[in-house]
């Protein structure tokens, strides 16, 4: 840990070579504490690909950060907020022996679904502090403990100073802090390094027409290092959740064939075994 990926090293190296001739510029850079936007990527120690090419493209360091606080702002549950994280969590749980900690999740993070997403359940822990002061204590301790690869929380109302503390703790423990917050909090400034707004995809989104089988979410990066906020873009999941239901009404029409009448598809009492049981009784 603590090493910049080779690409950014190269980039930095090249830049320095390029500037070697210009002493005045170099002096300015060294003495006045100026920094170049291009060197920002190098600060990201370890990147974890998001699993979505478009998102990787937009994020500094081409992936989720390894530490720092990332905020996901959204209003309704069920728009893909966790599915967006799932590929990264799967990688973290398989590559590292550290925990992925859910702090007071609003519902049960459902193990069969986590397993389907490839997440190693033996690395997942849930913590449910009851008192508000315990809540921040858990977040801070877990982030700073160096024993969590990611800490996921739904903090509700949280103060800017508290996020700053979490940010510092996550840097200390090389932990990725993930906060799910309401969409309205985008109005307030936050010390989080990365902020993304998630919205359900409007049905009329161009380029994502009706009738697709995969669900999708509209993402807008509100804050990222080294770049301005992004345009809203669409991330499609490979989940086939929107696969339409077979039209059963047509099946009823097809029931002209005499044999189907004996076996309506979903009538419990028509189950042959149960029927025989009824006859016996």
């Amino acid at each position: 840990m603590g090493e910049a990926p080779p690409e950014s090293l190269n980039r930095q190296g090249l830049n320095e070579q390029g500037l070697a001739s210009d002493d005045s510029l170099r002096g300015l850079l060294e003495k006045t504490g100026l920094w170049r936007a291009s060197s920002i990527d190098g600060d990201y120690k370890q990147h974890c690909s998001t699993g979505f090419a478009r998102l990787d493209q937009e994020l500094p360091g081409a992936g989720w950060p390894a530490d720092g606080v990332t905020e996901f702002l959204h209003d309704r549950a069920g728009i893909g907020e966790l599915r967006l994280l799932a590929p990264a969590l799967a990688r973290l749980t398989h590559e590292q022996s550290r925990w992925v900690l859910f702090v007071s999740p609003p519902y049960i993070p459902y193990p069969p679904a986590l397993a389907q997403a490839g997440i190693d359940l033996t690395r997942v822990i849930i913590s449910q502090p009851k008192m508000p002061r315990d809540y921040l204590w858990v977040l801070e301790k877990a982030l700073a403990s160096q024993s969590c690869s990611a800490v996921i929380a739904w903090p509700g109302r949280i103060h800017e100073k508290q996020i700053r503390r979490l940010q510092l703790a996550s840097k200390e423990g090389y932990s990725w802090g993930i906060l799910f917050r309401s969409g309205a909090s985008s109005k307030n400034a936050s010390p989080a390094e990365l902020r993304l707004r998630l919205r359900p995809l409007p049905d009329s989104t161009p380029g994502y027409s009706q009738g697709k089988e995969n669900s999708a979410v509209a993402v807008k990066i509100l804050k990222r290092r080294g770049r301005w906020e992004s345009e809203e873009f669409t991330i499609a999941f490979d989940d086939q959740l929107l696969r339409p239901m077979p039209d059963f009404s047509e099946m009823v029409i097809d029931q002209k064939i005499p044999t189907t009448k004996e076996k309506p598809a979903f009538d419990r009492t028509s189950n042959p075994v149960i029927q025989t049981l009824h006859e016996y009784q």
């Binding site: 309704r76 549950a77 069920g78 728009i79 893909g80 907020e81 966790l82 599915r83 799932a86 398989h94 590559e95 590292q96 022996s97 550290r98 925990w99 999740p105 609003p106 519902y107 049960i108 993070p109 459902y110 193990p111 069969p112 679904a113 986590l114 397993a115 389907q116 997403a117 359940l121 033996t122 997942v124 822990i125 849930i126 913590s127 449910q128 502090p129 009851k130 315990d134 204590w137 858990v138 301790k141 877990a142 403990s145 160096q146 024993s147 969590c148 919205r199 359900p200 995809l201 409007p202 669900s215 989940d239 086939q240 959740l241 929107l242 696969r243 339409p244 239901m245 979903f266 419990r268």
Partner: protein, 495 residues
Amino acid sequence: MDINSLDINSHWICLHFPQLPVEVFARHQVEKPVVVTIRQRVVAMNLRSQESGIRIGSSMNTAYTISEDVVSFEREEDRELEKLTHLAQWAYQFTPSVSIKPPHSLLLDVSGCLRLFKGIDNLKKLIREGLDSLGFEVALGTSGTPLAALLFAEAGMPEVPIAPEVAQSLGPVPVSYLRVEENIKDTLLKMGISHCKQLFELPVDGLNRRFGVFFTDYLQRLTGKKPDPQKTIDSTPRFRSDITFLSDVTNLESLVFPLKRLLGELQEFLIKRQLLTNQFSVKLSHRGHPPKEFSVFLASPDNDSQMFLMLSQLQLEKVNGMPEVDNISVAARNFFEAEAGSGDLFQGTRFKQKDGRIHSKAEEARAIKLVNMMTARLGPQACFGLSLANDHRPERAWKPVTLAAKDYWQGGNGDSNPRPLYLLPTPKALSTEAGTPCMSGKLELLQGPERIDFGWWDNDAAARDYYIAKHHTGSLYWIYQHLDNCRWYLHGIFS
């Protein structure tokens, strides 16, 4: 029984604690004069009281006149016996055959462990040093028979090397220390027999007629003419240790030091017995208040007193309603065999470990520490892992697992259909509008039905048709129709 049946190689050490009545309240490092009384008469005291001039048998009034800061306790024999039991557990580190001889003695059969401890003198040194650091004064007696060792220790005789002829070595011991009825000893003294030497010169038949068969039996066991098997303590490990404060402690933070000492004792106990524990309890008591007790749970068994202390402190901070404390105790009874693991030479180095991940032993230890801290502060139920379970009912297809037990279900449950990342703890009933389910807006059924009809054999049947439904806001839900009453329920969220 054959006279020669005594194993001449048997070695017994008796640990006699003459100051135990005082030491249950104040171990011998205490700087204040402490006395133990029965009905306002001093029956035992520590060295400090002795120096100030208090004598056994003097009344408390006298004691207060001599020294005004004397602290007195009413004698508690139950506690003495309890303490003796715990000292027996401590002594188990030397030999498995430890027997308790109330009121204040322990007997150790060390015949089998002399070579291990490099001779009896070294063993005695180890025992003395150990008890000294615990704060107990001990008189040691060694002999070839248990009763003789006991007699030597209780009589406070200068230690003599173990002689093959037990009776001869017992010669100078006064008869008043024999463990026989008081009237026998009185009679012996009246007969002019004050030392064992004189006693052993008397004919056995005469003694038998005069004092009964029990007395001669005792003498025969004492001198090794008869075998004398001892009842040893059971080997079930138990730990309890306490510290009594001479003045009430009002600041709970200052309990950290005594607690540290007790946990250090726990660690030593665990190391000596090659054990680990995953749970111990700390009890704060005061004579005027109901006691407060808290348990500290660890995610994995350990023997590290630093970790124990840190976790106890987390709980200690939360104790309230305990204005004063005069006794603190630590007890543990859940033990695990320590694995004979070897230390990690490359402690901090990250390697590809058996599970295919790259990490170091130090990281593993840190991961456990975090769980320990959370369980200590939030309680054992507030921190758990997730596992699949062998059931098709969605609410039972998973189970929480305690991180100490790590009982993860290894198999899958074979459900390949999409499952939501959020499951509601209890399904929420949905209203219907013209036969279709609603949730503040229409739900559009996208995929389904997936029939789950399971568990009709265990009175908790689930007969449901599951659908993926899309809310007009774009959220995706996992809903089901109950097959019996045709009602709709929300059960999960595709978050």
